[in-house]
């Protein structure tokens, strides 16, 4: 799952993963400063490790991890040294689905669909209209692809590359997807959908070759990643043909 870490308008690092599994039940995606995300992953490593060391059969679920992240982000903001990220945390535990978000100043909430950055403006209205309980996996992917297509058309720094993370769990799933923004850091769009046996996250990938999307699958047993695929787009509108025909001397 290739993603870029950009540096201003340069595509500086081209093999960066922006969504990571956390413990057995959750997936964390981040937009913003990659180094701060990496530090968060170190904190979470320790958190999950100490949780495992109790060896008591309990494990940190998405709600717990979300609360921990909220506290970390808020406390850093209190010290005027924030972790410059917007986080999306989704997962399923004991059949209960969960999707939440935390910003760099500690604002946090849980909802059926979340987004960061441009996604709030472009994707969430679509999700508000089309999301409902009992969405099937295929329908969920369709809705997200619709959102991604709109973002691709209207966000100058998006690219046509998607990756889907899938996590299998009982009876509910969380769908989370991410658009990589090669110029301004990535965005995350999440949607909580109720379907049998899946939790998944969709990630658009940024790469030099903007033709690919992928589906990655994380299950109780492990992770599988689909082959990359691209969205169908249409650019043949008549207004785009010969755009300078009415303006002599223009190019």
């Amino acid at each position: 799952m290739m993603e870029t870490g950009s540096y201003g308008s340069t595509l500086r690092y081209k093999s960066v993963e922006r969504i990571k599994p956390v413990g057995k039940h959750s997936l964390l995606g981040a937009s913003g400063e990659l180094s701060d995300f990496q530090e968060l992953l170190r904190y979470l490593d320790e958190l999950i490790l100490y949780d495992n060391m109790w060896d008591d059969g309990n494990s940190m679920g998405p709600k717990e991890v979300h609360n921990y992240l909220t506290r970390v982000m808020y406390n850093r903001r209190n010290k005027f040294n924030p972790l410059w990220n917007t986080l999306v945390l989704g997962g399923v535990k004991n059949g209960q689905k969960y999707l939440g978000t935390v910003t760099m100043i500690g604002v946090h909430f849980e909802d059926n669909h979340v987004a960061t950055g441009f996604g709030n403006h472009l994707a969430r209205p679509i999700l508000r209209e089309e999301w409902h309980e009992n969405l099937s996996f295929e329908d969920g992917v369709k809705i997200l692809e619709k959102c991604m297509r709109v973002l691709l058309y209207r966000d100058r720094s998006a690219v046509n590359k998607l990756q889907v993370w899938l996590s299998i769990h009982t009876l509910h799933f969380v769908l989370l997807f991410q658009a990589i923004d090669n110029l301004r850091g990535d965005r995350l769009y999440g949607s909580k959908l109720d379907v049998t046996d899946y939790v998944f996250i969709i990630l658009p990938l940024l790469r030099l070759d903007p033709t690919l999307s992928q589906i990655a699958k994380i299950t109780e047993e492990g992770v599988t990643i689909s082959q990359p695929y691209s969205l169908k787009t249409f650019w043949g509108f008549s207004a785009f043909q010969n755009p300078t025909v009415g303006a002599e001397g223009s190019w």
């Binding site: 808020y74 903001r77 100043i105 500690g106 604002v107 909802d111």
Partner: protein, 223 residues
């Protein structure tokens, strides 16, 4: 070389309105469920109301992260109080605690605008209203948050609170019945929703009385 300035603010206003009305034997606390940032709506289904004790319910609007931190802080302190005193905190006691907690951060305030409602030890309704740094007053009713300027004048007209300057001290609680008070709360929220962009989606209404605690919701305009 100019000094680099901070280009982020530790505060944000997530909007919303809160109202509380005290009655002879009940208290109504209400808040809308919209959470916004700038011109965006983040979520339409977010509760601003927190039950701090059996007889104390707080509604807070403002910066959501601070509101949550404040609620957690008070809940923790209440837990300690219960261990130490083997009883729940009364509403006036909670009111003082909230004021002290807010003032503790006088020089980096909780950006939270609170109304605390509940029943005092005699079962009479009481409402306390706060600013962000803990200045508070016991009143018969109050509104805080983005719609407060739209709501408060309506409540003033309807509830005819006697002036605190009048002597002998007059009762602050409204003679309205519980049903009338709930109806008034619904009316003011509908009014505020019309003109305040940060108020809307749903209003959550909590009623405290001798029978316990009761919660209801009403849809508001979503635009």
């Amino acid at each position: 070389m100019t000094k680099q300035q901070a280009n982020w603010s530790p505060y944000d206003n997530n909007g919303g309105s809160c109202v509380a009305i005290a009655g002879a034997d009940y208290c109504v606390i209400a808040a809308d469920t919209r959470m916004s940032t700038g011109y965006n709506i983040l979520t339409r289904d977010y509760s601003k109301i927190c039950k701090l004790a059996d007889k104390s319910v707080m509604a807070s609007s403002g910066f959501q992260a601070d509101v949550r931190a404040l609620q957690k802080q008070l809940a923790a302190r209440h837990s300690i109080y219960q261990h130490q005193h083997n009883k729940q905190m009364s509403c006036p006691a909670m009111a003082q605690l909230l004021s002290n907690t807010l003032y503790y951060k006088r020089f980096f305030p909780y950006y939270a605008f609170n109304v605390l409602g509940g029943l005092d030890n005699e079962g009479k309704g009481c409402v306390f209203t706060y600013d962000a740094v803990g200045s508070y007053e016991k009143v018969g009713y109050s509104a805080q948050g983005s719609g407060s300027t739209l709501i408060m004048p309506v409540l003033d007209r309807q509830l005819k609170s006697p002036s605190p300057l009048l002597l002998p001290a007059q009762d602050a609680v409204t003679p309205l019945s519980e049903a009338e008070a709930i109806d008034l709360v619904k009316t003011v929220f509908v009014a505020a929703t019309e003109r305040d962009i940060y108020t809307g989606d749903k209003v959550e209404i909590v009623v405290l009385n001798a029978d316990g605690i009761h919660r209801e919701y009403m849809d508001l305009r979503k635009d």
